[in-house]
Structure formats: C-alpha cells, structure tokens
Symmetry: C2
Subunit: 201 residues, 2 copies
DNA sequence: GTCTATATTGCGATAGAC
DNA sequence: GTCTATCGCAATATAGAC
C-alpha cells in the first residue's frame, strides 16, 4: 500500500472539500476519512494546500478532455451550440462535484484557477462567440445579437440547472433523471430564441 | 457613538465575508477594517457567527422587499416574466455582493439559509411556474413546455450574467454598463424561445 | 460601550522512531 | 512509507478595568 494512500486521500478530499470548502475541513478530518495518518498529507502532497491543488487538477482535467470535442471540429454554428450543450451535460454527469469547485474558485480563486480560466473557460467563450458571429453572418441567427451576451445566456441556461440542483432537489417533487430532459428543452428554447425571424417587437 | 459600531461592523463584514468567505476572515481583520475593537464583535453580535448572520439577514432583506413586486400583482404571464427580469436586475444592482452570499449558502448552507429558501426562492419558483402554466393554457407559450425546467432556464439566463461576472470582467473587453443590455437581450431570447409557433422540428 | 490582556482551543506542519 | 508526539501559531471568546 504505497501509492494507494494518494488515491484514498484525493477521494476523501474531493468529497470533503466539495461539501465543506477548503477552510471548513481540517487535515485531521481528511486523514481520518481517508483512513490514513494525517502526517501523510504533508509527505505526499507537501501539505493541505498541495492536496487541494491535486483535487482541483484532477477535477479540471476531465473538463479539459471533454472540451476538446467542441473545439477541434468543423460544425455549423447551430451544431456547435448543440455540441456544447451535450458536453455540459457530460461534464456535470461524470463529475457532479465539479460545479462546487468551479464556483468556489470563481468567487475565491486560488492560484491554480488561472490555468483553468485561461486554458478552458476563455477558449470555450471565444469558440462560442465565433459560432454566434458566423451564425449571424450566414443569416441563421438574429442579426441584432450581441455575441458576448449570447454566450453568457447560453452558458447560463445550460449550467444553471446544475448550479441550482441543491435547491431544486428540495423544491421540485420528482426532479431526478431530468438533467438530459432539461438540457434538451433549454437547447430548444435558446435556439428558437436566437433564430432569425423570431424577433420581438 | 453607540449604535454606529454595529453599522460599521456590518459594513466591513459584508465586504470582507463576500470577498474571502466566512472562514477566510478573522474577527481581528473584521474589527480592524471597521475601525473598532475586536471584542465588540462578541459584545454586539455574540461572536463571529452572529455577525455573519446579521450580514446575511441584511442582504436577504433587500431581496425579499424587491420580490414582492412580482408576487403581489395581477399581470399577464409574459408581463410577470418581464417583471422578474427587471427585479433580478434591480437586486443585483442594489446589492452586488448578494450573489456571493447566495452561492456560498447554496453550496455550504448555514442555518439562516433555510429562511430564504422557504420564504423567497420557493415562492419565486412557484410564482413563475404558475405563470408558465397560465401562458401555456392561454396558448401564448409552447404547449410542450415543462414548467419546472422553464423556470430554471429563466432563472439561469437572467442570473448567470451576475454569477459569471468575475470571469467576464477579464474575458470580455468593454463589458461594463452592460447589465441592463444583457437582461434585455436575454429576455427577448427567452421569450422568443418559449412562444407558441417557434417550435423546432 | 469600549478597551487591554489573557484564557483556551484547534489548526497545519514536522522531527524522529520504525 | 508510515506512525507518534509535539511544536508553534493563530483563531475565537471573555474577564475585568475604565
């Protein structure tokens, strides 16, 4: 049992950090939940902060891999938006704790977050913005769209379901198995809303 | 200077808690930023936790007052959705730190959060859900809408701009003075997306 | 109501035996 | 690689003078 200690620590730390936040959990609690000695955190990760960084990198790596799907292919603007939607669904389903780390980092960023901001979020943003620009140029989307705002609207409508899940689990009665159904309807609402000829006024 | 100490402490605490989170700030720092002695936190608020609760109650009170606008009047379904949008804008503009406390509480709830969940969020959710149901019944909205999901889509598209602001301030070049413009476009996208006859086939 | 000084606890990190 | 024991520090809270 040498390398297994790292794995057990990361697994316990992912759960505990997601639940209580970085400062809300002590190294003693982390070690206890992992079933190892607390001194091993310093030995394997150079301290609590190193363990947290390892957890973040582990979480964000899955996101980066999935993201290549939308970035490295040639699709129509609408297809790229659809691809973004299913990618969002995949990310949240394969890593349900990710959203907590993402928003914890968003509001209280650690040094490690800049990597994600620059390598992932900015890239996604620009890719989507280009898709909107292209869709407008081709006459598929409303010509009066502000592309930056459209990107935020798309990201908001796709991600908020997972952000608000702690609430909706209590508010909505039978809300499970609904992530995919949500994404599908949200996608149709959004696409119908930006297509040419649906302008209000 | 008796009651002024409470005010100064709440003001400093609102700023510091929003910036660093509950555990990220000490009572010494709180007192120093407020320009008072640290022992006065225990005297006036029975400790750090009491001060945090006072900050939360102060933040959430404004939200509750503004929320009455959508709840206590008889508007058409589309008018209620528009009223919700401008209310969201008002809330975030009059209290820019609120979103941080809201999501901090969403992921790491303190006892005080249940009050908000029950008195505000659930009420808003149900009011909007009723508006969608009514709009569908009157033939104004697409008949295949899932109302719970539509509420989440609306909340997501309206709030995400303010959630993602720490990011977009770095990502988008000249993004200021854009909150109202965002809300207006997001509203048109959403309404165009749920109106009858815009269904994707 | 406000201050100084201090009690007490819990934290992260590490030295050193095995 | 793992464990025990402990160090040093910073945290909150409070007692008591003013």
């Amino acid at each position: 049992m040498e390398k297994d200690t790292r794995t057990k620590l990361i697994a316990a730390a992912t759960r505990l950090f997601a639940e209580k936040g970085y400062e809300g959990v002590s190294i003693r609690e982390l070690a206890q939940q992992a079933g190892v000695n607390s001194a091993l955190i310093s030995y394997h990760f150079s301290g609590k902060e190193g363990l947290y960084t390892a957890v973040l990198e582990n979480q964000f790596t899955m996101m980066l891999e999935l993201a290549d799907r939308i970035l490295h292919n040639s699709l129509t603007p609408e297809q790229k938006i659809r691809e973004y939607a299913v990618t969002v669904l995949s990310i949240h389903q394969s890593s349900p704790t990710l959203i907590r780390f993402l928003y914890s980092e968003l509001f209280h960023p650690s040094p490690c977050f800049e990597v994600i901001t620059q390598r992932f979020l900015a890239k996604i943003f620009q890719t989507l913005a280009l898709s909107f620009t292209e869709g407008i140029a081709k006459g598929q989307f409303r010509p009066d769209l502000n592309v930056e705002n459209a990107v935020i609207s798309l990201a908001g409508i796709m991600n908020f379901y997972f952000i608000a899940r702690p609430l909706t689990q209590n508010l909505v009665a039978g809300s499970e198995a609904g992530a995919q159904a949500y994404i599908e309807q949200a996608l149709e609402i959004f696409l119908a809303g930006i297509r040419r000829g649906n302008k209000d006024g």
